[in-house]
């Protein structure tokens, strides 16, 4: 890897989010909480989602890990909070596609905003998991919250 590659990886935006992460901390209320780890390096995130009327009202977290994983968590919360669950899921899908695209996917700034800074990460297979950790945790937690809401309705209806 060269110095230019290094700068492509560590975009200023990433380092900013790393130093000053958004939405950090665990908060109430929440419908689902998950704990995800990256088994190869030990990065960890505990993440909660709070949904109201099909909207992502809050995502709160406690995370340990490298600059890429921390910054990506911060960017993710900033992007999904306030969106409809459907819209947030589609942002998640775009980010995942970008990360798994081996550097061949053109990021859409309209959708991903600060998330496009991670385009360079896709070229470092060892770091893709770092960037995706909290996004996968969010997807998992949201699916759980929706499934629980589904069962609750069924119980009330039944």
């Amino acid at each position: 890897m060269t110095a230019q590659d290094l700068d492509a990886l560590y975009q200023e935006i990433i380092l900013d989010h790393y130093k000053n992460p958004l939405n950090k901390g665990l908060r109430d209320p929440f419908e689902a909480e998950v704990h995800h780890v990256n088994p190869t390096c030990g990065d960890e995130v505990t993440l909660r989602v709070h949904l109201t009327d099909g909207k992502v009202s809050d995502v709160s977290y406690d995370a340990m890990g490298c600059s890429i994983s921390q910054a990506s968590t911060s960017v993710m919360t900033d992007l999904v909070i306030g969106k409809s669950v459907e819209e947030a899921m589609s942002i998640q899908a775009s980010f995942q596609e970008l990360m798994q695209g081996r550097g061949n996917v053109e990021p859409d700034e309209e959708v991903l905003e600060d998330g496009i800074a991670f385009a360079g990460v896709a070229k470092f297979p060892a770091r893709v998991k770092c960037a995706l950790l909290s996004w996968m945790a969010w997807k998992d937690a949201t699916a759980q919250a929706l499934a629980d809401a589904g069962t609750d309705e069924e119980t009330t209806n039944g």
Partner: protein, 421 residues
């Protein structure tokens, strides 16, 4: 600098990869030898020659090539036995790696009946600094048998806390398994002293020598006298290839253990109703073994024996002392494990305040310096020191003081890249 290998430049020439240029024309500074070591030309050539000229299956081919291949495979066993001064060459069992060797022991102990049988209420003792390969197999064994897993804790300086040895090793103890040299902290453990204690209560003693065999002379006759029963190491860390590991065991113990895998080569005779098994070492080597890998490992230990393990230990010691001193000048850097080079091997794990180990390793890589970042398969030891991950620089017989200077320079660059100074 005292203690360095006198022909260091000649030794470096034996390892073709050390001449490699990385992206951007940077020279390689390989400081990840505790993860896997580089291979000298003679190992590569021996393996190529075997494949080009002598390839055949071993033991079961009745032709000239079969005889040559069997001869090469078995003479690799002789070389390894001589290298670690094993009491008998038949006590050297080839496995896939150290992990498989340790799993072989834990599994066959789980199946053993008679004196070696482990049951409810029995205890297995390990340490908090083990590699996952010497933790998980014992967790599986104790869970399956209703036994209890216990462990030695660690002092803040990274040495074993032996203050409770008399209660930890007691009449319920069936197995004591520990690492000789820690792959994370570098600590060298007093295996002979612990083995003597374990023997006094009749426990089996297993040593994970994955980081010891590469770095210091090993005398199994002496260790067996102290009470060590079984010892595992892995080929790729002793300048040999991947895919080959070694389990040494005392004959009386290996004879009492049931077979591990069943199949070709491990039998005496097979009938549809039942089979009888071959003697050691073949009893534990079912199927076609990693032949060319064993031959490569034979060449590797010959190479190390030729350089001299005492000289390699002194070299590692000199480089480690130099590295510890040089790394102490980097502000915000904390070494995990003993700070006295004479108490440790050549793996130095550290934290750099304000920069995550992944990011340290990434920036070092951009300077051509290859290190490892993460938990190094020793999560409990990291937890003990309140860290989630660390960066590890590890040297070997080909490491130069200049490479340590490059590491320190790259660490300073990392601090400035993350705007810490």
């Amino acid at each position: 600098m005292d203690g360095l290998l006198p022909e260091l430049e000649v030794i470096r020439k034996d390892f073709p990869i050390l001449e490699r240029e990385l992206a951007g024309g940077k020279p390689l500074v390989y400081l990840d030898s505790a993860n896997t070591s580089q291979k000298p030309q003679v190992v590569i050539d021996t393996m190529v020659d075997h494949l080009e000229r002598h390839n055949a299956n071993v033991a079961r081919a009745m032709h000239q090539l079969g005889a040559e291949s069997s001869e090469a495979f078995e003479s690799a066993r002789d070389k390894i036995a001589a290298f670690v001064n094993a009491p008998s060459r038949d006590e050297i069992i080839f496995t896939k790696n150290a992990s498989e060797a340790l799993n072989l022991v834990a599994n066959t102990l789980a199946w053993a009946r008679g004196p070696l049988e482990i049951g409810e209420g029995d205890e297995v003792v390990i340490t908090e600094m083990e590699h996952h390969s010497n933790i998980v197999p014992w967790q599986l064994l104790t869970e399956r048998k209703g036994a209890t897993l216990r462990w030695f804790g660690l002092h803040d300086d990274g040495t074993l806390d032996l203050s409770d040895i008399d209660s930890l090793i007691n009449e319920k103890t069936k197995v004591v398994s520990l690492t000789w040299v820690s792959n994370m902290l570098g600590t060298i453990n007093p295996v002979a002293e612990i083995a003597r204690k374990a023997k006094a209560v009749g426990a089996i003693v297993v040593v994970d020598a994955s980081q010891a065999v590469p770095q210091m002379p090993v005398d199994l006759v002496e260790l067996a006298e102290a009470g060590v029963d079984l010892l595992a190491f892995t080929g790729h860390k002793v300048v040999g290839p991947t895919g080959i590991g070694v389990l040494w065991g005392r004959t009386e113990i290996l004879d009492q253990l049931p077979p591990f895998l069943g199949g070709g080569e491990m039998i005496e005779t097979v009938a549809m109703e039942r089979s009888t098994y071959a003697g050691i070492p073949h009893k534990f080597e079912a199927g076609t073994p990693p032949i060319v890998e064993a031959v490569g490992l034979g060449a590797a230990v010959d190479y190390l024996g030729h350089v001299g393990m005492a000289a390699i230990r002194d070299h590692e010691h000199a480089i480690t002392a130099y590295a510890l001193e040089a790394m102490a000048t980097v502000s915000g850097l904390t070494v995990l494990g003993p700070l006295d080079a004479s108490l440790r091997g050549g793996a130095i794990s550290f934290e750099l305040d304000g920069v995550h180990p992944h990011d340290v390793a990434q920036v070092l890589d951009s300077r051509g310096v290859a290190v490892r970042a993460g938990h190094h398969c020793a999560k409990p030891a990291h937890k003990r020191f309140g860290v989630q991950a660390s960066t590890r620089a590890s040297s070997y017989l080909y490491t130069t003081p200049g490479e340590i200077d490059a590491l320190v320079e790259a660490l300073e660059y990392t601090r400035s890249y993350f705007k810490l100074s």
